[in-house]
């Protein structure tokens, strides 16, 4: 949430100035009125006039190219005319201005039409010029022409780069392509410094419009896709240049602020932010109808922006102070809108500090609704939903709330919020363990075409929402063992969110977690271990949990137990339910290691209640798995099987491939245990073999050799009991091969889920 005023023109300059570019436009108009042009071409030219007239100054090459695409004959005529003036004398230019059609009587350029007005403005501005100014204008015209004339090597019209892809430009797409072109052109000629250093001749003065356009474009790119914006260092250089020539250009300071935020430079960003607002206060007080009001307003927003800056850098105390200040001055001046913004920052800040802010948020939503600020209202609701989900509010309530806000979003075309809402739905589904729903929502978000107008050829797709969705998608792929897909997704994420950017941390953590899981599944604990500090750097709780897991796998039970205890206490304090459940499960597993199955039971039951209460289906199923295993170990396989059946369905439907394999293997083991007791023992055994086959297929997709080895062992024993020697021998051989490959002594199968 930023109060980006960059696009706004402060102190709009209404005066017109004749520039060489304007002269070329004038000569184009002159040609259009005097010479005969085919109707179709004329129509194209007419469509071109407005963007040319109102757009920023172009270089002559670009200008002529644009005209030539519509009507080559006119472009040539314009070029000849400019050539005459540039190669001639001052009188040629003066003559040109005297021959310009006088709009008053001319039918085609009627005096109040856009063209007529433009011509009259230009004539007026020209006539006002003093002698030396006229001479200077002529000089710059010559310069303008000769820069273009001097480098015809670049292809006939100077800008050959996009002749190929834009060759099919036709009537309908003229304006779009012009915008498109300007964007691309701006990438090259606007690099002031470059031009200054490398080619000092070609640099024309940077007009107000050009500067504004440059700023607006860069700000837009920073907001929507900062990979396409200039590199931070480059942009800084450009801005410094711009400020050197025009220190009053306050917006440049704001852009500087945004730019230094990209590279996390608190020093420059604070400086630029304050500078910008110092300037803004000035312009706010000078003009406009609401002089005094505008001035106070920028003060409030200045303080608010400062708060957001500190918040971004994690200085919560400072942010709090700045926010208090913003709130105080907003209250003093009865600015409810500003207060509302402050309030939403307040609860955000509270949330970041880790305290419960739902009351504040609710207040904020109510107030926002009252003051008709849909953006803030739904932002508040989304925040409430997030809190509710963590606290275990019922699912339908949350979904209802999201649906209601969605209606609001579509009504007001708040595309940013729609994205957030979708991302939130993904996260909620994932939390509940409904992977299919999550996947479907993720696809929805990624395939949705944004409501934002497509400017500068950039669609908005590097917001946090997209990062979240992609991370979830990556995790979902990893769960299904589709590591190829995961790698692809991370490649995209790396491109879209380079490591220095704000949302990069999301995928970094996600990537680490996936790698960790993979190594753990492969049994390569020595590879998993170095990842722990990296995870811990991103997220402390997660890091601790992973550390405990590694320690557990390395049989350093005591240490693992201590960490898990610590973690449990911590998570109970922060009410992080998911982690609590996982910790409980891990603790139970630790107890198994010491063959102490009954001690784990209360823990598992606690985990089950918790996960049911919070509707965490995936975790509930996993808990059931653990319970069933415990029962099996305690010698009640019938019970175990019945518990397992409860969990089997959701796991097979939504669970990760690892869970599926484990569940099936457990089922098989229960069946094996029942073989002896049941009358139809042989059939049972056959069923068990089949189940194990399925499990084996899951494990082999994950390439989880240890478990595969266990499966082969069990299968061999079953075949043996059925007297199927050939099959038994085959399984035994597979087991032997795997065993040789792994080289680690086989862990006691019984002790493991």
């Amino acid at each position: 949430m930023k109060y980006n005023d960059t696009g706004k023109v402060v102190g709009l300059v209404c005066r017109y100035w004749v520039t060489p570019y304007k002269i070329s436009v004038l000569s184009l108009l002159y040609e259009m009125t005097t010479s005969k042009i085919a109707l179709q071409e004329k129509r194209r030219l007419n469509k071109l006039i407005l963007p040319l007239q109102q757009g920023p100054d172009l270089q002559l090459g670009q200008f002529l190219k644009t005209v030539e695409d519509c009507c080559p004959q006119t472009a040539f005529a314009v070029k000849i005319r400019l050539n005459e003036m540039a190669d001639g004398e001052l009188k040629d230019m003066e003559f040109f201005f005297t021959t310009l059609p006088n709009p008053t009587f001319d039918s085609e350029a009627y005096k109040t039409s856009v063209v007529g007005l433009f011509i009259r403005h230009m004539l007026l501005a020209y006539n006002k010029l003093s002698f030396s100014q006229v001479y200077k204008l002529y000089k710059s015209l010559q310069h303008y022409y000769h820069v273009y004339d001097a480098k015809p090597v670049d292809g006939q019209m100077g800008v050959p780069t996009f002749v190929a892809d834009d060759s099919d430009m036709d009537l309908t797409s003229t304006e779009v392509t012009i915008g498109d072109k300007m964007e691309r052109e701006l990438d090259s000629p606007l690099l002031i410094s470059e031009l200054r250093n490398e080619d000092p001749v070609s640099r024309g003065p940077l007009s107000q419009k050009q500067a504004e356009y440059f700023l607006a474009k860069q700000a837009y790119l920073l907001k929507n896709d900062d990979n396409k914006a200039l590199r931070p260092a480059k942009l800084q250089e450009e801005l410094n240049n711009m400020l050197k020539f025009n220190p009053d250009f306050a917006e440049a300071h704001y852009l500087n602020y945004l730019n230094s935020m990209r590279v996390q430079d608190i020093y420059i960003s604070t400086h630029s932010l304050l500078h910008y607002f110092d300037r803004l206060i000035l312009s706010g007080s000078e003009g406009k109808s609401n002089g005094d009001e505008g001035y106070g307003r920028s003060l409030r927003y200045a303080a608010l922006n400062l708060a957001s800056l500190h918040c971004r850098f994690g200085h919560y105390q400072l942010a709090d102070l700045a926010l208090q200040e913003a709130i105080r001055i907003a209250q003093e001046s009865n600015d409810h809108v500003c207060l509302q913004h402050c309030l939403s920052w307040l609860y955000t800040l509270e949330q970041m500090k880790g305290s419960d802010s739902s009351v504040l948020t609710e207040d904020s939503v109510k107030m926002a609704a009252h003051f008709c600020l849909p953006y803030l209202a739904s932002l508040g609701i989304q925040s409430l939903v997030q809190q509710g989900a963590v606290q275990g509010k019922s699912a339908h309530e949350l979904m209802d709330a999201l649906k209601d806000t969605d209606i609001l979003h579509w009504k007001h075309s708040l595309s940013e919020l729609i994205e957030i809402s979708l991302a939130q739905t993904i996260s909620i589904w994932r939390m509940y363990g409904k992977s299919t729903m999550a996947q479907q929502q993720a696809q929805l978000l990624l395939n949705m075409s944004s409501l934002e107008p497509v400017n500068f050829g950039v669609t908005q797709n590097n917001t946090e929402a997209f990062a979240v969705a992609l991370c979830h998608l990556a995790e979902l792929h990893a769960e299904q063992g589709l590591y190829g897909g995961t790698t692809e997704i991370f490649k995209h994420l790396k491109e879209q969110f380079p490591p220095h950017t704000q949302h990069a941390k999301l995928w970094m953590l996600c990537d680490l977690k996936i790698q960790f899981e993979k190594h753990m599944n492969d049994g390569k604990y020595h590879l998993a271990q170095p990842l722990v500090p990296a995870i811990r750097a991103q997220n402390k709780t997660e890091g601790l949990y992973r550390k405990a897991q590694v320690l557990k796998s390395l049989s350093r039970t005591t240490e693992a137990y201590r960490i898990l205890q610590k973690l449990q206490v911590h998570c109970e304090k922060t009410r992080c339910t998911e982690t609590i459940i996982r910790v409980l499960l891990s603790t139970a597993e630790l107890h198994w290691e010491s063959s102490d199955f009954s001690t784990g039971l209360p823990l598992l039951l606690q985990a089950l209640t918790l996960s049911r209460k919070h509707h965490l289906q995936a975790l509930a199923s996993r808990t059931l798995l653990h319970l069933a295993f415990t029962q099996l170990m305690l010698g009640v396989p019938e019970q175990a099987l019945s518990v397992l059946h409860e969990a089997l369905e959701p796991i097979l439907a939504h669970g990760g491939i690892m869970d599926k394999g484990r569940a099936l293997m457990l089922a098989a083991r229960c069946q094996m245990a029942l073989v002896a007791t049941r009358p139809n023992g042989r059939e049972q055994a056959a069923v068990a073999i089949h189940t194990l086959d399925e499990a084996a297929s899951y494990f082999s997709t994950l390439n989880c050799k240890e478990r595969l080895r266990d499966v082969r062992y069990l299968q061999a024993r079953l075949h043996s009991s059925l007297g199927q020697t050939a099959q038994r021998n085959r399984c035994a051989m597979l087991f032997h091969l795997l065993d040789r490959e792994l080289q680690t002594p086989r862990a006691p199968t019984d002790m493991r889920l």
Binding site: S132, P205, L321, E332
Partner: protein, 581 residues
């Protein structure tokens, strides 16, 4: 020029002891600079030469050593110099283009440079658009740089052309190269003050200064003193100037003015005023530095003197930046802030890069409660010079007036960074922290302000009050004790003195701690002040009541009271040295 190497040798081996040598060198360099139209260096050297004793006739250095080339170019040079003096630079350059002597070459290049500068100034007036205004540049610079760098590489540049090359580089914002060239220039021609002065503007910190290898020459001491003043290292500067005076430059107006400015920078107002008065006696028509003088008079609220100065300067030259600043100060002192702002604006019109005027204008707008204009003015000042602590401080004050204590923290911090030992910024910071209820930081600031030498004697009082609020009674009492000591020891009467508050608190404090002797002493002292008299009496009554119940007091205390002006010191039961906040 054949004379240059001789001069250089002479300069390098001479010491201060040999004032005659120095005088000779100055006379030679004056004539050299004069020939080349470097008026400011001529002025500086002449001022210095004037301060030294005149030489006897036979001691005067030979006026010229003329080389063959000089003879060839003599006529062209004379013609060009006359055009140059009449500011017809292009014409001068035209007639010099074929000359070969170094002197002529310098004048040729210099005329071209000045012509470019003049055209730039003219262009600024009639530019084609609003944005073009900032883009007007001296077009000659680039060509000059190319030519000069060629010659530089070939090693054909003498001291003066090196100086010009440096100036060109600086104007092109090639600061690093410029510094190198200026250093080289000082080595080739140490006596040319212009190169040193340029170097002064380019050296931004002491580390950079230390890294330069400069020729050891008597003029280097002047340079060091000047740059110490620029870098706010006033004690060092004063020491340097003092040794220069002792070496025999005691009559130099330049040194006197520099010392006065230095004293002004460390706010030693009386010293500075005395020096400025002396300066005006010696050099009554001087306009330089008079704005600083007026600042001092303003601070001291010396209306008649300021008025006299203003009238005097107007008579000398009313279209000078300094004059406008003085008049602005004059109006400001008379609380005619609109007029004051007007005059500062005029000063800025005369020289937009005049730093002081921007800041002063900001102060005027502050007085007029026009905060936004004040912010603008201060911002301009910062743009001209980022190291202007007054502007940063002013911005902080503006936001403080707008009741944004957190916001102004940044500005005060900036100011504090620039003047780490100025108590005013620290007190301001402390106040802001106090408003933000950050008492720990506030206490630190106040204590630090006291430690660096509190100008306004407010820091301790504020500290004590803060501690009182926080019910840190012992610490508060300590602070009050030191405060009272400070007030009495400084002797002169200050405004806003709140000794009574301190005494009242101390009385109560001692009373609570059952130190009745001290308490009654404080209470008695309280009675000296109108606002605390009643409370003092009440406390005395309370004390006597309590005493009646217990013991009779010893008579010794009253003896000490009668003959001691600051009795608190003696009876203070607390150990002062152990106090830290």
């Amino acid at each position: 020029c054949l004379i240059t190497p001789n001069l250089k040798m002479a300069a390098l081996c001479s010491e201060f002891g040999d004032l005659v040598q120095i005088k000779k060198q100055l006379i030679s360099v004056i004539s050299l600079c004069k020939e080349r139209g470097l008026v400011h260096s001529v002025k500086w050297a002449s001022e210095l030469a004037f301060a030294l004793d005149p030489l006897p006739k036979d001691e005067l250095p030979p006026s010229h050593l003329v080389s063959e080339e000089d003879v060839q170019d003599l006529d062209a040079f004379a013609l060009a110099k006359s055009y140059f003096d009449l500011k017809e630079y292009d014409r001068a350059a035209y007639f010099l283009r074929g000359c070969h002597s170094k002197k002529a070459y310098f004048l040729y290049m210099y005329s071209r440079y000045l012509s470019g500068e003049k055209k730039k100034d003219d262009e600024t007036v009639d530019s084609l658009g609003p944005l073009e205004k900032g883009q007007v540049r001296n077009e000659a610079l680039r060509e000059l740089r190319v030519e000069l760098s060629k010659k530089h590489r070939a090693g054909e540049l003498d001291g003066f052309t090196l100086y010009l090359y440096g100036v060109v580089l600086r104007k092109l914002d090639l600061l690093k190269e410029a510094v190198e060239v200026f250093v080289e220039a000082t080595h080739t021609l140490p006596l040319h003050w212009g190169s040193w002065l340029e170097l002064c503007n380019l050296v931004t910190n002491i580390e950079m200064l230390k890294s330069l290898s400069l020729p050891s020459c008597w003029i280097k001491d002047f340079f060091m003193a000047h740059i110490y003043t620029e870098l706010q290292m006033i004690p060092g500067a004063l020491q340097k100037y003092q040794s220069l005076i002792e070496a025999g430059f005691s009559k130099s107006t330049y040194i006197i003015s520099q010392i006065a400015v230095a004293y002004h920078n460390i706010r030693d107002i009386d010293q500075a005023l005395a020096l400025f008065n002396e300066l005006r006696e010696q050099d009554p028509y001087r306009i330089e530095n008079m704005d600083t003088f007026s600042n001092l008079l303003y601070v001291k609220s010396m209306k008649p003197e300021l008025s006299y100065l203003a009238h005097n300067l107007v008579e000398i030259d009313k279209y000078r930046v300094e004059t406008c600043c003085v008049i602005g100060n004059y109006y400001s002192l008379r609380s005619q802030h609109e007029k004051a702002a007007l005059y500062f604006q005029r000063a800025l019109k005369l020289n937009p890069r005049c730093l002081g005027a921007w800041t002063l204008m900001g102060h005027e707008y502050m007085e007029m409660k026009n905060t936004s204009a004040a912010i603008q003015a201060y911002r301009h000042a910062i743009e001209v010079n980022k190291r202007d602590y007054r502007a940063w401080y002013g911005l902080g004050q503006t936001y403080e007036i707008l009741k944004m204590p957190f916001y102004c923290l940044y500005y005060y911090r900036k100011a504090h960074q620039l003047r780490p030992n100025d108590s005013r910024m620290l007190v301001a910071l402390g106040e802001c922290y106090e408003k933000l209820s950050q008492q720990v930081e506030a206490k630190k600031c106040y204590w630090r302000a006291f430690s660096v030498g509190d100008v306004e004697k407010m820091a301790l009082l504020k500290l004590a009050k803060l501690q009182e609020q926080l019910t840190e009674t012992d610490e508060a009492a300590q602070s009050y004790i030191i405060y009272i000591q400070e007030i009495f020891s400084c002797g002169e009467q200050l405004e806003h003195v709140e000794v009574s508050t301190a005494l009242r608190y101390l009385g109560q404090y001692y009373f609570k701690n059952k130190l009745y002797d001290e308490a009654s002493l404080c209470a008695q002292r309280c009675c000296d002040y109108n606002d605390a008299r009643e409370e003092g009496k009440a406390l005395l009554r309370q004390i006597s009541q309590v005493r009646d119940q217990t013991e009779t007091p010893s008579g010794e205390l009253f003896v000490s009271l009668s003959d001691n002006n600051t009795p608190i010191k003696r009876v203070s039961p607390l150990n002062l040295s152990s106090f830290t906040p």
